[in-house]
Amino acid sequence: MTMKRDQMLRALARHRTDEVVVAVYRAANELIHVDPSELNYTFNAAMGQASSAALGIALARPDRRVVVLDGDGSLLMNLGTLVTIADAEPANLLHCVCSNGTYETNGAVPVPGVGRASFRDLALAAGYRDARRIDSLEEWDQALPELLAAAGPVLVDLVVEPGEETWPDDFRTLHSTERRDRFIEALAGGRP
């Protein structure tokens, strides 16, 4: 089974309150339309680095929940991040991997290891507190309240495919430093 990425994002938006969401590539491009928020961090212009940026935010702001929407190709480019995150033990970090099996932005070429490598198993072996694989919208929707409250780091491997609704790639917006500055202001504004 798989779920449509836009529906996956809409479910997250329904359950989201004040969480920071760090996202990459197509998930980021769709997130800014499905759930526009000053707390969306999409300024990940080096592939594979989103979870590392998310770790920094989570360590700086342990009072805030940080959700990262990574990609499978992106995570493969920075697999050591699993060990780094597990070692840092950010209790407020939920690491989601949008697994579509391809480098979708770069021509939809398959990623290596599809059907063999398990992000769930890799995360657990690295020392994450919990990890699971979710391939249905219903299960994702039901699990979200628990996942957004769980002590992290937790990884969720989300099996997704392109959604019904798509938007043109807009990296100028995703990587805008002006938007990033608004993110910083919004996050600082919520400081206790």
Binding site: Q49, I57, L59, T81, T84, L187
Partner: protein, 172 residues
């Protein structure tokens, strides 16, 4: 005064500069130049949080995330790790306008000999690469050079630009 006669860098003075600059987090991958007297004491010090990374480019992004969350940090690594992180430095540090402050040990550098004149290719290319990228960098080799760390960190945060502090001799 010859290089041999000059006192080495002080690890305690370097750490004091970090404290004065408000640095509370250090991302690090061990570097033989700074491991013994700078990194190891920080690992044992609860006043500063060391995040050990598996690869240096992670550290650049962690520092950017910490900045977004309102914290100051530095990345401690060897020059080989800097060379391995050029794309991340380009994207996250420069184009992303993030104040990523890096303390970079120059493996097998000979204090008193400019790295650009080193017989080692890997050392010779470091400053020209940083220059081509427009990244401010300073060479720290002897006692007294530590005092340039704090101001360099302040400039980095004011300008939202990366800065690289090259450590050319082992701090003791």
């Amino acid at each position: 005064m010859t290089a041999q006669a000059r006192a080495p860098l002080s690890a305690a003075a370097m750490r004091a500069q970090l404290d004065r600059a408000g640095v509370r987090f250090v991302a690090a991958l061990p570097d033989i130049t700074t491991s013994e007297h700078l990194l190891k004491p920080m690992l044992a010090d609860p006043a500063i949080r060391v995040v050990q990374v598996c690869k240096e480019d992670e550290g650049i992004s962690i520092c950017a995330g910490l900045y977004a969350g309102g914290e100051r940090s530095v990345l401690l690594m060897q020059h080989t790790g800097l060379l391995d992180s050029i794309n991340c430095l380009r994207a996250v540090g420069i184009e992303g306008e993030n104040p990523v402050c890096m303390i970079v040990g120059l493996l097998r550098n000979e204090p008193g000999v400019p790295p650009s004149h080193s017989p080692r290719y890997g050392l010779r290319i470091v400053q020209p690469i940083l220059g081509a990228m427009g990244v401010e960098n300073e060479l720290l080799e002897f006692a007294g050079d530590e005092e340039r760390i704090g101001p360099a960190i302040e400039r980095s945060y004011e300008r939202r630009r990366p800065v690289v502090l090259l450590v050319g001799g082992e701090p003791l």
